[in-house]
Every structure is written in structure tokens, then in C-alpha cells.
Symmetry: C2
Subunit: 381 residues, 2 copies
């Protein structure tokens, strides 16, 4: 059992190409973002388990023994997830993001506890640079951080950070254990997730996903991307169901569109893997073509939004190319940045982050080596 | 040889679905519009041949004998077309629309003259309700009118209007002769036309076109369409070449998009043929889905334009669904009108016509039965 405080982080993700089509057996490309979720875990002596989520303004704690009757909820069935949410609900509604976050934590905590036969008393604080509900994999980064921390805590995996190291990562085998548990956390949150988000957050870099098979891209290129949040809330479930309904209504029309989206992913993968160092003008031009075509196809399958079109229009007036990323219907757009370009979309009322793709996966940190802002956030209140 | 004045008209067309995809072997649906081109032909006694095109502000005349050396230009080769344009050029440039219109007339006149062995002296005036260069088949309507008039003049086909009739049409066999000659006129204008435009203008109604095979839709439904001209000029040739270049660059991405567009045409055909009378709410809803999807796909293959998007946006804000029609890159958009809707796009600076699809093909008219405006236009100056 781990007795010191530990700090770790896991990245968010963007889907470059293949959102929605991936649900219907086509290739998607996802890549880790340099926006991360951080976790600090400190053992307690009083038998309590506490969870602080400053982004959600949420602070909960439980007596470890009162959690014991919930151990039956492992692995999660729909019914058991409901039971956990009910338990975690508190003053918030059952579907409140705070409730779901607490239920996910409880689920992961109980999973590890049942595996290790102990119910450790800990303070856990999770703070994120990622906006929630924007398709950037914030829930997966949350699950991955919790899974890695709890598995390290009970010794199911090592805690890799050595004295004097700034940052360290787990072994491939350990990451596999983290990823599998994080996926179960994602199931609590999303019901039927694809597994892409937790894989990207665990492994980092860029991944190719098709029909449940995830493989790392051989090369993770240097590609700067502007992320723009339209701040339009949307439901991934409703959007996915809408595409399915259209596919049933117009199969001969929709199937080739999804095929084309899959081909865009493959083409993009080929370009990225063939790149040596900085993309050439020709690479950019092809990547921009793919972004444009895919954005139109995503509109065609009905997952666009007027404000996403607006982002495309504004960036296009600066010679830049954008597409929605993730579920669409609002949420975020990604814009390919050419190195010579420095621009700002904030005057349109959008939130923008300039990011680099292919960030490292879940990592253990020495707290003093983290940015002051992150250190401050992890102090808690 | 015909000795009286004769009047006839031929309709323009809109492509409902399948533009561009048709070039790559997919189905297109085209339908005749109730916007028409009118022709009045009057025999002369002075051996001259004159052509008045009030829409183009053009008036030309030739001595019949001076045309004789041009007879060798039948059938047209690229070189012979150049020769005709040079002859017809006058003060305008070789590629001026007036030059091309005169060359087309001369080509059709000489074709018929060589077939019949005479060079009749006539005044011909052609006036159109159709804008030129907007993808509404104005050149085909022009060719069809000329072909029908000249073939009637020299007795190769009848002139079907009987004493006391308001309007009359040719037999199927005669229409076939008209269509074949009109296609040659289209070749003078466009180089390598698909043959859809002249077929729709000749036969009227709605046609299905695939790989050179044209067939009439069994049922021509009542469907009101708003036509909006963005007035953005564009070159069909350049747009077609752009799609071809994209297809060569990204075959696995572009081919399924074209397949999807073809499937949209087939789906639309199925809906139209299954309709009995006025479309139902369900018919409208499906037809609107097809319009939306196709507009996005056409953007995807690179033939959209910001002003076409603007038309879609404005009509969408009124609950209406629009797509580009024809070559795209500007030109016209069509908007499905539900019967309950009366709207106006003119305040956006666009030109709009509310039209009905499935108009009759080339027709002979009694001049006094035509609208006053048309009668006035056909008086000439």
C-alpha cells in the first residue's frame, strides 16, 4: 500500500477524422492533446475517503465502511450504475455531472478495493485544464487518472516516479491494466463508449481505431491545432442516434458517406506517417483538403451546427481550415495551423486553445516540477 | 418550304440531383422549368438571313450566298467551330456570348441547309425568360428552338400548329430529330455537353440520365421550386475539371461521395414516382433531407460557394431547404417550396423565380395566345 502523496496526469484527446463513422465500422484517428487532467492523492489516517473536484465545485467524503455494501456493484451493470448514482447523488440530481463523477470514482475505488481486499483511506483531488462536455475526452482523462492512482495505491501497478525524477510513465503492461479499468469508468459515465478516449489518454500519441481494434500510429507528427469551443452543449447519444436513424432511412446514401469519411481517416493516417519532421506545404494542402471535405460530410450526416459553420467561415477568412471534432452538433472545432500563422478567434466570443497533438499519455509527476497554476490547483481548499 | 411566320418555345431545366456525379457515371435527375425561350421566324424575300437576340443586345444579318462556303463545317469539328466563330465574331471577341450564339445559329442553319439543299432567307428572333450562364439550360433551350424552327422551315419535320390551336407539339419521332440536332448546337456552345439539357428542353417533364442513357420519369409530380440566382458567374468547365482533379487526388474519398450523390438521385426518383398528386408531409420531409445532404456533398466535392451557403442559410431560417443546381461555384440554388409557404429572398439582393417543375418541352405557339410580354418581345425592334 502506497503511503506518500502521489501526483499524476492524463491528456485529453481530439478526433482528427472518423467521428461518427467509427460507430459504423470505419477508421477513426484520435490524438492526445497537451491539455491535461491532474490528480493528487494523499493517504489519510481517519478511515475516510474524500473526493475534491474543484472544476465542478464538488467535494464529497465517505466513511470507508459505509462503502462496503456497494462492493457488489463490480462489474457495473446498468442497474448497479443506477444504484451508485443514487448513493452518490446527494443534493444534486441523479444525472448531475457531479453525481456521475462521484459514481465513477466510487465504481473505480470499489473495483480496486475488491481486487486488493482493502479499502484505503485517501484524499483525492482531480483538476483539469479540459472543458467538460466539449468532446475533448475530459471524462476519459478523469477515469484514466483515477484508475492509475487507485491501481498504484493498492500496488496492482507500480508508481513509476523515482526520487529526483520530474516525470515518469508506467510500463506497457501496467498501462494496459490502467486502460482496461479506465474503460469501465467510461462505461459508468457514457454507457457504451468506444474505448478510444481512454486509450488515447492512457497511451498518448496518436491512435487509429477501427471496430474495437486500437493501434498506435507509427509516427506522431508535429502538428499545431487551434481548438475552438463553440460552447454549444449537445448530447453525443442523441447525435449518434440521429446518424443511425438517417442510415436506416437512407442506407444507399449514408453508407457511402461513412465510407468516404473512413477513407479520409486512412488518407490522413498515410500523410501523417509519411511525414518526416515539419509538414511540407504539400502535406498541409492535402491535410486541409481532408479537413474541408470531412466537415462537409459531417454536415451531410446531420451532425453540424450553425456555430461550427461560423468557426469554419471565420477561420477560412484567415486562410485556415476547420472541422468539428467529436460528436458535433456544437462542441469543439479543430483548425489546422500553419506555422506562419498566429490568429485569434476569441473576438467572435469563442474560447480557443492553441494545442499540439500527440501529447504523452498518463504520467506520474513530481509536484514541484509542475506549472505553478497546476500546483496551486492541486493544493485543494 | 414554310412561308408563314412561326412561333415556338422550349423550356429551361433545373437539375434536381446528380450534377457533377453524372459526369462520373452516376444518375442525375433533370426537370423542365416553366421559364422558356421563345423564337419567332419570318421568311424574307431579299435573300438575307438575320438573327436578333434582344437579351444579348445582338442583331446580325448575312447574305445567304456568303454563307455557302461555310457548309463544309457540318458536322462540327473543333477546328470548324473555330472557323464559324471567327466568321461570326464581328466586333465582339471570339468567345463573346454573342459570337458563340451566332456561331451556333450558323452551324444549325448550315446543317439544315446542307440536308435540304436550300438556303432559306429568314428573320429569326429569339427571346428568353431564362438568365444565361446560370445553369438553367438557356443555351439548350436556344439550340432546341433553333433546331425545331429550322427543321420545320425546310420541311424535315412538320409544323404542328393547326388553324385555331393555341399550342401544339411535335410527334415523338420529330422530337427525336429536333433533339439530335439541338445536341450538335450544344456541342458548338459547350464542347462536350452531356445531352441532358437539350433532352429536357425537347421532351419537357422530368428525365433521368445515366451514362448517356436518358429516360423520362413515369410520373412528373407537382412540385413548386424557388429558383435563386446568386449572380456569381462561374465556368462549368473549370468546376468539372476541379472535381476530376480531386477524384484523381483522393479516389477512395471522392468515389463514395459521388456514389452517395447518385443514390440521392435514385431515392428522389423513387419518391417522385411513388407520389400520387400533391406531395405528403412525409414526401416533403424526405425530399428536404435529400436536398440538405446533397448540398453538403456538393460542398464536399468543392463546387460550393459562400453565396450559395448564404441562400441555404436564409431559406433555412424560413424552414426551407436549398441546394445549388447545375455546375455550382455560384449560379443558381433551388429551394423546395411547401405549398403553405410564400417567401421572398429578393431582399438579400438575389433574383428569385417561383417555378413549377415538369413543364412541357418544345412547343409551337399561336402568337396571339402568348402573354403580352412575350408577344412584345417577339415583335423585335
Amino acid at each position: 500500500m502506497w503511503t506518500r502523496s502521489l501526483v499524476l496526469s492524463a491528456p485529453g484527446k481530439v478526433i482528427l477524422h472518423g467521428e461518427h463513422a467509427v460507430v459504423h465500422g470505419k477508421v477513426a484517428l484520435a490524438t492526445a492533446l497537451n491539455l491535461r487532467t491532474f490528480l493528487r492523492m494523499t493517504p489519510r489516517q481517519d478511515g475516510r475517503v474524500s473526493l475534491q473536484l474543484p472544476n465542478l465545485g464538488s467535494r464529497r467524503s465517505w466513511e470507508a465502511p459505509e462503502l462496503r455494501p456497494l462492493l457488489a456493484a463490480v462489474p457495473p451493470s446498468a442497474e448497479q450504475v443506477e444504484k451508485l448514482k443514487e448513493f452518490a447523488g446527494g443534493d444534486n440530481g441523479r444525472e448531475a455531472v457531479q453525481t456521475v463523477a462521484a459514481a465513477t470514482f466510487l465504481y473505480l475505488y470499489l473495483s480496486v478495493a475488491s481486487k486488493c481486499g482493502v479499502m484505503p483511506a485517501v484524499d483525492i483531488l482531480v483538476w483539469s485544464e479540459l472543458p467538460t462536455g466539449a468532446g475533448l475526452g475530459s471524462s476519459a482523462a478523469y477515469s484514466v487518472c483515477l484508475a492509475a492512482a487507485l491501481l498504484s495505491l493498492c500496488g496492482a501497478i507500480s508508481y513509476p516516479l523515482q526520487e529526483g525524477q520530474e516525470v515518469a510513465r508506467w510500463t506497457t503492461e501496467e498501462l494496459d491494466v490502467v486502460n482496461r479499468l479506465a474503460f469501465k469508468g467510461e462505461q459508468v459515465i457514457h454507457g457504451n463508449p468506444s474505448g478510444v478516449d481512454n486509450a488515447v489518454s492512457t497511451w498518448g500519441g496518436a491512435l487509429r481505431y477501427i471496430s474495437g481494434k486500437i493501434s498506435a500510429l507509427k509516427r506522431v507528427p508535429t502538428l499545431r491545432i487551434l481548438l475552438t469551443n463553440t460552447k454549444v452543449p449537445r448530447s453525443t447519444k442523441v447525435l449518434v442516434a440521429g446518424v443511425k436513424a438517417k442510415l436506416l432511412k437512407f442506407p444507399t446514401i449514408m453508407e457511402p458517406i461513412l465510407t468516404s469519411i473512413g477513407a479520409i481517416s486512412r488518407e490522413c493516417e498515410g500523410i501523417l506517417e509519411a511525414m518526416t519532421g515539419e509538414p511540407s506545404q504539400e502535406d498541409y494542402s492535402r491535410l486541409e483538403d481532408l479537413v474541408d471535405i470531412n466537415q462537409h460530410l459531417l454536415n451531410g450526416i446531420g451532425v453540424g451546427h450553425a456555430l461550427l459553420d461560423r468557426v469554419c467561415e471565420v477561420t477560412s477568412s484567415h486562410g485556415l481550415h476547420s472541422k468539428l471534432t467529436g460528436a458535433g452538433g456544437g462542441g469543439c472545432a479543430i483548425t489546422l495551423l500553419r506555422p506562419e500563422a498566429i490568429r485569434d478567434l476569441t473576438h467572435c466570443g469563442f474560447e480557443c486553445w492553441e494545442t499540439v497533438i500527440g501529447a504523452p499519455g498518463v504520467s506520474a509527476h513530481a509536484l514541484p516540477c509542475l506549472r505553478a497554476e497546476v500546483q496551486k490547483a492541486l493544493q485543494g481548499s
